[in-house]
Amino acid sequence: MSRLGKRISVLLLAFGLAGCAATPRNPQDPLEGFNRAMLTFNDKVDQVALKPAAEVYQSMLPSFVQSGVGNFFGNIADIPTLANQILQGKINESLSDFMRIAVNTTLGLGGLLDIASEANLPKHSEDFGQTLGRWGMAPGPYIVLPIFGPSTIRDTAALPVDLKADPWSHVYSTRTRNIGSVVRAIDQRSVALDASNLVEEAALDRYEFVRDAYLQRRESRVYDGEAPPKKRWRWPRAAEEGGGIHGGAVPVPEPSSEPVVETAQNASSASPAQHAHAPAAPPDDAPKISMSSDGALK
């Protein structure tokens, strides 16, 4: 390993160990100490390197150049998205994404223009973690990865597949590949600049806010905004101990959340998060579903 690599590993280890020294408060987030440390580390890297670069990128480059960059890499990302749509058995979306790639690559000048979105072929984003989720795997504990950011155990396991499936990683010239990856990262960061400022304002405790929002959003993406199915493969743990990020901590049914459960049966558009705050849910629909992030390590 190179000297720089060694130094970075030591730094990560130090952060990780420092984080692990704290006892986890939340039984649903068993890696909380490590995760908090990682989030701090990622924030430092972001603050020092990525965010300033993204701000310069956003202010200096004309917007059509930024759009071009975004569209180009977006088109490349549509390829693994298409593969995952097929793996998930979503025929309509597969056809739509295939058309997207075809239209954007040819009429869109190699992906620089996103004509497909204007032709009512909406942009999707699927990865192997979502595919695993769709196949029935529960997300598992929350984990914050260095550089990559918030994730879950399931999605971390799927990460190598995603990295291998990224078409840009197969570009022959190392220099082009690296420059492209950096530009892609800066472009993605610049798109999220406003949103990250908003999270700063909205959150009381940034770590918890990011975690809870991320986990909900992740499950929503797995099911594309619909309700999850009843049966799911779960990480081995005592399934009765709470469901959802806060479900386990609420022993007494809350009177105001009862009607929410009824609605979950009536309006079939219930989001996965709804199950998490209704401990008095009927047996087959139990808090067992969705975001139990506890326990595989217990």
């Binding site: 032709a119 909406p122 942009k123 908003l198 959003r217 905004g225 809350e254 105001s256 705050h277």
Partner: protein
């Protein structure tokens, strides 16, 4: 593409049906959400002060157009979870006020970033004659990136349908704040939470005041 055309026709029909029912004492929830969303977006795009970043104007807009249709007490009680029952009525009232301020500041921050996004509503599921709680689903279409999912949960009250939860990009507001609230309450009780919220609101108010100054000088 055909599917989208059908969807669009359905939305238009739904909207037309909602408006052509004068006998209905209350506005239908999806028509309500559509109306206030459109009003807010139109105001945000046309008002020069808002475009310049004047947060106070955005706050006024939100107060007049949106707040009357939101049930903050229910939102706060859901976010506080089991601690709500343990709080005194005075604490409940303070907590609701502070949480409301935080949400208004955050929402206004989002509004001031509206540039050329469009709203698209999905057909509403459920039976309006029977349901007392519904979910209205919409998407914000933006020139770059995926559409942003934006859903609302509304409940039927004697004074009309009221919003009590919002979902942005798949995350429900109440669910996301539950963790924050529980952590603060375990540290310093309900009073600790109220104090944390009011400190945050003071900071947000201070930065809002700064944007007023900046916007009025830049609009000159």
């Amino acid at each position: 593409m055909k599917l989208f055309k059908q969807l669009f026709a359905l939305i238009v029909a739904l909207g037309a049906a909602a408006f052509s029912a004068p006998a209905m004492a209350q506005e239908a929830p999806d028509a309500l959400v559509k109306r206030i969303s459109q009003e807010v977006i139109d105001a945000a795009k046309t008002d020069k002060e808002i475009q310049a970043g004047n947060t106070k104007r955005v706050l006024e807009l939100v107060e007049s157009k949106v707040l009357p249709h939101v049930n903050f007490q229910r939102m706060t009680s859901l976010a506080a979870g089991r601690f709500w029952r343990d709080a005194t009525p005075e604490q409940q009232k303070q907590l609701t006020t502070e949480f409301r301020s935080l949400l208004v500041y955050t929402y206004s921050g989002a509004i001031s970033q509206i540039k050329d996004q469009k709203l698209e509503f999905k057909p509403m599921r459920g039976d309006l004659a029977v349901d007392t709680e519904v979910e209205v689903r919409s998407q914000v279409l933006q020139p770059r990136g995926e559409p942003i999912q934006l859903n609302y949960r509304l409940e039927k009250t004697p004074s009309g349908w009221k919003i009590y939860d919002v979902n942005v990009l798949g995350a429900w507001l109440v669910e996301t704040y539950k963790g924050n609230f529980a952590a603060e309450i375990s540290k310093g009780g309900v009073d600790g939470l109220i104090k944390a919220l009011s400190d945050k609101n003071k900071r947000l108010a201070a930065s809002a005041a700064k944007t007023v100054k900046k916007a009025s000088t830049s609009a000159l």
